[in-house]
């Protein structure tokens, strides 16, 4: 599962760090650090965290990545 957080939107409410501490952590008082590729085991928690973010800053895969597999050749 891939994650990107739009940190322009993020207001450091730390909801995500509360709900999925394995993936999100506060760094200092406000800065958010996250694991850009979380374990499959965290899927449910990640979904909760993304849904709970008050500014909807957490972007997660909406499609199965293998279906979009990228090949080097044409």
């Amino acid at each position: 599962m891939r994650i990107a957080v739009d940190l322009n939107r993020c207001q450091g409410y730390a909801q995500c760090a509360f709900l999925a501490p394995e993936i999100f952590a506060m760094h200092g008082e406000e800065a958010l650090l996250y694991d850009p590729e979380a374990d499959e085991a965290q899927r449910a928690k990640l979904a909760q965290a993304a849904a709970a973010c008050p500014v909807q800053a957490i972007l997660v895969d909406a499609v199965d990545v293998p279906a979009e597999a990228v090949s080097g050749a044409r």
Binding site: L7, N8, Q11, E29, L33, P36
Partner: protein
């Protein structure tokens, strides 16, 4: 060819090519599909990797919290594209509507999006840049190589250039407990982007965290040992720094060389395009089939007197990509302008730094909330009597308020009181930006409007 039904046909069976397989390229591709594009989509990228996110490269990855190979961007929807990765585009034939690739192939298009971004400015002396231990940081591979070297526990790291990336690298190194020297030509870190008043706070932060910060100096030469490993750097003040890892963090160069000879208005300052992301040709005529988005684009912005603005901001790449993709598939009356207020974030030394608007355009600053001493404040930038930008250190939640002031061209200094304003924030002071004619690595925003006095661009009419 244009006219009734053309757009419908384009949507159904057209060919769209995206050059640049990164943030802007991917988000544009997703938007094209969301807006009903069912034709063939080809995405060309010179890096061998699928699109990945760069901001973590100087943060999580250097802190050892994520692998550089694990920052691939999430897919917000399926893009069903033909990916041509690991092969650069080398030329553009606008008359034949074809993109030439390094492997000799040519890809035809009906609509083209250029999102080739920027690359790290290398150390100017090639032989020194080749020394083992000398790095730049722009790509996933750069970041992986640097993280590996930091894991090995170098004696001392030297960062050349204290812009955002350089400062983030220094921060990560200190958090790892590594001795770090930072050499910056300007008077303080971040001075090109945020000015000297805020730069002084950034300098204080670095020193408090144990960085050996040297400002107002240039690195003049790097020297290696007999086995070709970097060993020592010579500074313009005559001093030397012994370091076995050197990170060159001197800003970026726009990837436009491959367009030379194409007749497109593309040069070292990026690709000129209109507010709807349509690229201009070299004669100043807007094309209707070629678009540009992201770090490589420069376009006029209504909030900043329609001057051409080049931004190296994540949010800008996302929003321009969406606008470009939408406009490609739209009638002229349905096209949208790119009017987002620029916004940027950085995290260093545990402090969340965010800006909106274009602080580097400001001449004055007012500390409207908090205080510089606490390293926790909001600074508002003024330009000709209006609010033009704002920066927050650990006060991010206030920025939407200031963004609204910028959007509504509110007057500066703001006539009302804000919460938590201290006595020293009652009056604006000079924001203390360096003389713009002296180049710094610094700002990630560049105003690059033409003026008749600007002779740096040469233009040779064909007739």
């Amino acid at each position: 060819m244009l006219g009734d039904g053309y757009l419908e046909q384009l949507k159904r069976e057209g060919r769209i090519v995206v050059v640049g397989a990164s943030l802007a390229g991917l988000r544009a591709a997703e938007t094209l599909r969301s807006e009903g594009f069912a034709g063939s989509l080809t995405i060309i990228g010179d890096e061998p990797h699928e699109p990945y996110d760069r901001p973590p490269l100087s943060k999580q990855v250097l802190l050892g919290r994520a692998g550089a190979d694990r920052t691939a961007l999430p897919r917000l929807r399926s893009v069903d594209a033909t990916w041509r990765l690991g092969v650069p585009a080398t030329g553009l034939d606008r008359a034949a509507r074809r993109v030439r690739l390094a492997d000799g192939d040519e890809v035809p298009y009906d609509r083209l999006l250029i999102a080739t971004g920027v690359r790290a400015r290398p150390w100017p002396r090639a032989a020194e840049a080749e020394l083992d231990g000398v790095f730049v940081l722009r790509t996933r591979d750069d970041s992986a190589a640097l993280a590996r070297r930091l894991d090995a526990g170098p004696q001392r790291v030297l960062v050349i250039g204290a812009g955002f990336t350089g400062s983030e690298i220094a921060s990560a190194c200190r958090e790892r407990g590594l001795p770090v020297t930072v050499a910056e030509r300007g008077a303080a870190p971040l001075v090109g982007a945020l000015g000297g008043v805020v730069g002084a706070v950034a300098a204080e932060l670095q020193r408090q965290h144990g960085v050996d910060l040297r400002c107002g100096v240039m690195v003049t030469a790097l020297e290696g040992d007999t086995s070709g490993r970097v060993r020592v750097a010579h500074l313009s003040d005559g001093s030397t720094v012994e370091a076995d890892v050197v990170i060159v963090s001197l800003g970026a160069i726009r990837n436009t060389e491959w367009l030379s000879g194409s007749g497109l208005g593309a040069g070292p300052r990026g690709i000129a395009c209109d507010a709807g992301c349509r690229a201009f040709d070299i004669r100043g005529i807007v094309t209707d089939d070629i678009y540009a988005a992201g770090d490589v684009a420069r376009s006029p912005h209504a909030l900043f007197s329609y001057q051409f603005l080049s931004l190296e901001h994540w949010g800008n790449a996302v929003s321009q990509a969406r606008i470009a993709a939408h406009n490609m598939l739209s009638e002229s009356t349905d096209r949208l302008p790119h009017m987002e207020v620029p916004a940027f974030w950085s995290a260093q030394f545990g402090v969340n730094i965010k800006s909106v608007g274009v602080p580097s355009l400001g001449t004055e600053i007012l500390i409207s909330q908090g205080s510089l001493q606490d390293q926790r404040f909001v600074g508002v930038y003024g330009y000709q009597g209006r609010v033009i930008g704002a920066v927050a250190f650990d006060q991010a939640k206030w920025l939407p308020f200031y963004q609204e002031l910028i959007e509504t061209t509110a007057s500066f200094p703001p006539p009302f009181d804000t919460v938590d304003r201290r006595p020293d924030g009652q009056r604006p002071i000079d924001a203390d930006f360096p003389d713009p004619s002296v180049p710094t690595h610094g700002p990630t925003v560049t105003l690059s409007g033409y003026s008749p006095a600007d002779r740096r661009m040469t233009f040779t009419p064909a007739h």
